[in-house]
Point group: C2
């Protein structure tokens, strides 16, 4: 990948002297950004641009070309690639559009492009992109025209959309922050986000990576790369709704991915997900400050109202406002003009007009061991004290750099003063309101507490995959898409998941006998292919208390429609011991096409549907992740104990969740599993599955 960013020479293919020609913009950029390598312009019609010859073909170029950037009509691409191949050019950036995004009929053209490139060992970025940039050497290939008002920084950007990437660059430039590398990947036919991410994780000039994605090429690889990364990764994954999926398909040929799975996957591998430009800039600002290594914040404000607003924001983001030492407060109070302010944290400096003291307060506070960061609000209106104010901002930036703790400085002033202060302090983010500053510090705290995942987490106790597979194969062989309840229970048992004692029975007498063995009360369930939602058709009887009730129940269930022809050799009525105690939890999972097996947890019974409150993780999950899932659902208080009910056995529930996770990873032939409910008994007494539905993955065979 390095060849895409550090070529010694570039050929721009598709330049013409026509004023609407886009290739000219690429050439213009290379000069504007003072690219340090050699530039060759190529275009069918020849001529010249800004005094540079336009060669009529790549073969006419007099020097060696390391990278070709191409903006010719889609149909010409196979020929251009062949020419590159013959000339030994091994890196291409293809900006031309007109491929799969126009519809399936263009897929053969894509295939030809890919095949031709493969034949010559060529790697390319695109098509349908705006190319790459490297601020270090002035490589600037976008056909979208802009000026070089950028600083060099540690942020590198990979964007599936050129427009969105450029908008991020412009925002970064407006705030006088910097960037290192930029790549627009378009249809990612050859090089995808993972290839670039892998490179940028190694690239010494890159410290933070921002991804804009409309689709995810390979979810598992992305997770692996991110998990191992020491660098911070921020991602805006768009294309989250039905309408956006339609336009994304025609824009960069991306299909949408289940959005909750994306969020879970990013969270698990430490990618910070953003949802728009605002949250993207919050995260980019967070990376531009020294890290907030803890939760102890001091708020210092020159406006009393903003002290209140900042305290609201600090509370919103869960910061602890650490008290100031008494001696320090007395010192500051002794310097107040009218003594009309009482000091605390937040500290309202409304009555103080001493710029040197403002700096001292921040600097002394930042040096304290019990403070992790400062949120400062400085307001002035650009009439008096401009010089002092600008000096203060600079002094605070320097203190921040020196002490290596963050000061999120809100500069509430005029547009002009804000601009001047930003220009004097490149690379240092200045905030325009306390909420924004607190949000950024919270992201910084999140980043600072991020752990790189070393290797695999501990495996859940292994299940008897062979046994489970045999059950699945049998169901599949008889043409079923869903297991019978007794089969599902057997699969759970094969993975060590406790099931409420049960028996499959073939006659009323047998049912009564088994019920007596299991102990009353029992539940009875009908088992038939035709009856999927058992309880909706009266296929479930609860709380049967005696032999007589069980026998009558057997007859009633047997007479239900669909049981006239029970599967050969099966015993159609399930008798199961009732479990009354404990909260009901739903544990389940499914296979996601992009990220593979995912595990779900929520309140059980009908609440999982009614509340729509489900924790989700990509499998396999660690014990810590299973605990997080339990804490994440709104109903988790039910498990911690409420009123007279003691705590439930959450350790046992964690084990169940991890075993389900293992089961889904081992057995891709399980498309969907719902264990609903799992009854969680009181602490130390375990939990038991009461009902389970397993749906087979179409087309996957054991």
């Amino acid at each position: 990948m390095r060849g895409f960013f550090y070529p010694e020479s570039v050929a721009v293919v598709g330049v013409s002297p026509a004023p609407t020609n886009l290739g000219r913009a690429i050439a213009y950029h290379l000069f504007e950004f003072r690219y340090t390598g050699r530039v060759y312009l190529v275009g069918l019609k020849g001529g010249s641009f800004l005094g540079h010859t336009i060669y009529r073909s790549l073969h006419e170029v007099p020097g060696r070309v390391e990278l070709a950037v191409v903006l010719t009509p889609a149909q010409t691409l196979p020929d251009v690639i062949r020419a590159c191949g013959e000339l030994g050019i091994r890196r291409l950036v293809i900006e031309s559009a007109g491929f799969r995004e126009l519809g399936e009929e263009r897929r053969s053209l894509e295939e030809e492009v890919t095949a031709t490139a493969r034949r010559y060992g060529i790697r390319f970025i695109g098509p349908n992109c705006i190319g790459v940039m490297n601020k270090e050497n002035g490589l600037a290939l976008p056909f979208v025209p802009f000026r070089d008002f950028f600083h060099l920084g540690q942020l590198s950007i990979v964007s599936q959309s050129g427009g969105v990437g450029v908008a991020i660059l412009n925002s970064v430039a407006t705030e006088q922050l910097g960037f290192s590398k930029f790549a627009s990947i378009g249809n990612k036919l050859d090089t995808d986000e993972n290839d670039l991410l892998e490179y940028l994780l190694e690239d010494e000039a890159t410290g933070v990576i921002f991804l804009y994605l409309e689709g995810v090429a390979d979810g598992r690889r992305l997770m692996e790369l991110a998990s191992r990364s020491e660098k911070l990764i921020i991602a805006h994954k768009s294309n989250t709704s039905e309408t956006s999926a339609r336009i994304a398909r025609s824009h960069t040929a991306s299909l949408s991915v289940a959005d909750d799975v994306v969020s879970a996957a990013f969270r698990q591998c430490g990618i910070h997900r953003v949802t728009d430009m605002r949250s993207a800039m919050d995260a980019i600002r967070a990376c531009s400050l020294p890290p907030m290594r803890g939760n102890r914040l001091a708020v210092v404000s020159r406006s009393g109202g903003h002290a209140v607003v900042a305290a609201d924001a600090a509370a919103k983001y869960g910061f602890h406002l650490q008290p100031f030492p008494e001696a320090f407060l007395r010192m500051v109070e002794s310097r107040l003009r009218a003594g009309v302010i009482r000091l605390g944290n937040p500290m309202d400096l409304g009555d103080l007009f001493d710029f040197e003291l403002f700096h001292q307060i921040v600097s002394q506070t930042l040096r304290r061991d019990d403070i992790d960061g400062v949120l400062m609000v400085h307001n002035y209106n650009g009439v008096f004290f401009d010089g002092e104010s600008r000096g203060l901002v600079q002094a605070i930036r320097k203190t921040c750099e020196e002490i290596q703790k963050p000061v999120a400085l809100c500069l509430l002033t005029t547009e002009e003063e804000l601009r001047i202060n930003r220009r004097t302090n490149p690379g240092y983010p200045l905030f325009t309101e306390p909420e924004e500053a607190a949000c950024t510090l919270a992201i910084s705290r999140e980043f600072a507490s991020r752990r790189v995942r070393k290797g695999e987490g501990p495996k859940a106790a292994p299940g008897d995959a062979e046994k489970a597979r045999a059950i699945l194969a049998a169901a599949s062989a008889r043409g079923s898409h869903q297991l019978m309840p007794d089969e599902a229970f057997s699969v759970l048992s094969a993975y060590g998941i406790p099931v409420a004692p049960w028996a499959a029975t073939g006659s009323a007498a047998e049912a009564a006998a088994r019920a007596a063995e299991l102990g009353f009360p029992v539940a009875m369930k009908v088992m038939a292919e035709e009856i999927v939602h058992k309880s909706d058709v009266g296929g479930v009887l609860l709380n049967c208390l005696s032999n007589a009730e069980v026998e009558a129940g057997f007859d009633r269930l047997s007479s239900l429609a669909g049981l006239s022809s029970p599967a050969s050799g099966r015993q159609p009525i399930l008798v199961q011991k009732m479990v009354v105690e404990g909260p009901e939890i739903f544990v389940g999972g499914r296979q996601d096409p992009t990220f593979g097996a995912v595990v779900l947890l929520g309140l059980g019974g009908v609440y999982v549907e009614v509340l729509g409150d489900v924790a989700l993780r990509v499998a396999p999950i660690t014990p810590a992740e299973a605990w997080e899932m339990i804490d994440e659902i709104r109903g988790s208080g039910l498990l911690r104990g409420v009123r007279s009910q003691g705590p439930a056995d959450r350790d046992a529930l964690v084990a169940v969740v991890r075993r389900i996770s293992q089961l889904l990873c081992d057995l891709p032939e399980i498309g969907e599993i719902d264990v609903n409910p799992v009854k969680v008994l009181s602490a130390g007494r375990g939990c038991v599955a009461v009902d389970c539905r397993i749906v087979l993955t179409p087309g996957v065979r054991s």
Copy 2:
């Protein structure tokens, strides 16, 4: 109030020639903003400022003064007010700090100030504020210095904090939007937000009102004023956390109000609540566009990526992306350069470079009857096509004004180009990302659908307040803070709220007899002052199935601690018919110190605690508000019916909620009421209260 904004002459009291004197800034402003009235400067030391005499006392001022603005030490205020009184000055703006915000010991000074002002019929704003402004006549009294780079607009601002008010003004100026009036109210000792709101609702120059509040002076009056308002009101109520309450007390002497009550109250009276500067500016921008009168949106983007992002945002805010007519799409497609884009809504114009056509697309779309607004993304980088781009922005603003539908235009460009375009289009908001634009259109849609409340809503069927009052008085007389269950049930019955049939019993035999009459199964509950959480001490028995069980239950409950001395003459064991059917709902309420009676609704049983998911409204509530509450809780699906369960009787639940609302309004002596659960039977069968707790308001007697 008009006298505060349109005085013919102003005296600035507290001016000295010292460079740190803040009174000078006030004088400076009056000149900078070209105040149209006469200005007199007053200061103990005399001298002059900017060529204007500083008179040594108000008595020396040669002309009539209509408004005095005062910035002298707090202790001097009574004298200054007396002087004003003697001279017939009836309006004061007191900017001096040093009152109640410093602690209770300054309250007597406040009282003297208020009393002195009353004696002379003086109305004043402040103290501890930065004064008022009126862009129309150049009245500008803040001691915080700023330049007049403001436009005249229809937005008026009332801010409890000067700093926050100025920050809003600066943001408005940065975006080249305008304002009409500004008032900072500080400690609001005489004039509060309601007084100013009432005036601004009448003021012809004001179209939109923005409030920043740290406390609410009189919640009910605020709600009444807002409910009747044709004008839009936006409010940032801060001071929502424990720490912010501390600093707000020392800043503007504001106590905090329960935040969920504030949100509910604002929503009920049509005030749009914002939580920070970002959301404030979103709302202010929404008021700067023609209203979005419906939900049908067209998205037009020059960047494919932003078309995707905009579609995400449109989905997030619930907009419907209306399809474009086929003929129109064909027309636009015929103008594409390379034909490499497929058009739809969102419309990706990435392949089009015709600024006249961009405008045509927006203008023709906006004129369509089936379109309520347009979100347009225009990106360019200020290298080529600057003139065309700027012309396009102006043309779109004009179209927007002409057709009186909103075009939320995202201008994704460089900082400089954004500034230039804003200056050329004052009063027209330009957005910097699709999310922000969609959010603003959503607020505009909310504003457009806002209804002015005409008079009172229909009353709930009146309850028997006298009967309820007698029960409450009896409990209060015997020193109870909480009603016994039978008393609470009687209060519910007095308000027509159905209660599961019950009887209070004094012996085992009586209990069994009553149980048989009620019908088995029954529940039994102990009633004793000492036992508040009945079920935590085993004071509740459920599902008693026979005479024998009831008799044994009576003995067991009677033997519980605290029953050795039952309240004289009371029958201590309640027997109640069990209601098994239907979802359990919690309905309750309490008296809020600022807003009065509030009503609550959530899932019943332990779920109200576990899920913390409660809908809240200020009473009395309309039927529509009761329906909203039901739809608002996450568990509302349970009432609409789930799986085999049909819909529950939500009409009956609405009646219960409204009766509880009426009961709390009629009986302020009820401090808190929890009806938990209310069992909601299937549609048409009503609902019944099963348990009820009523706590008396301390100090309020029937």
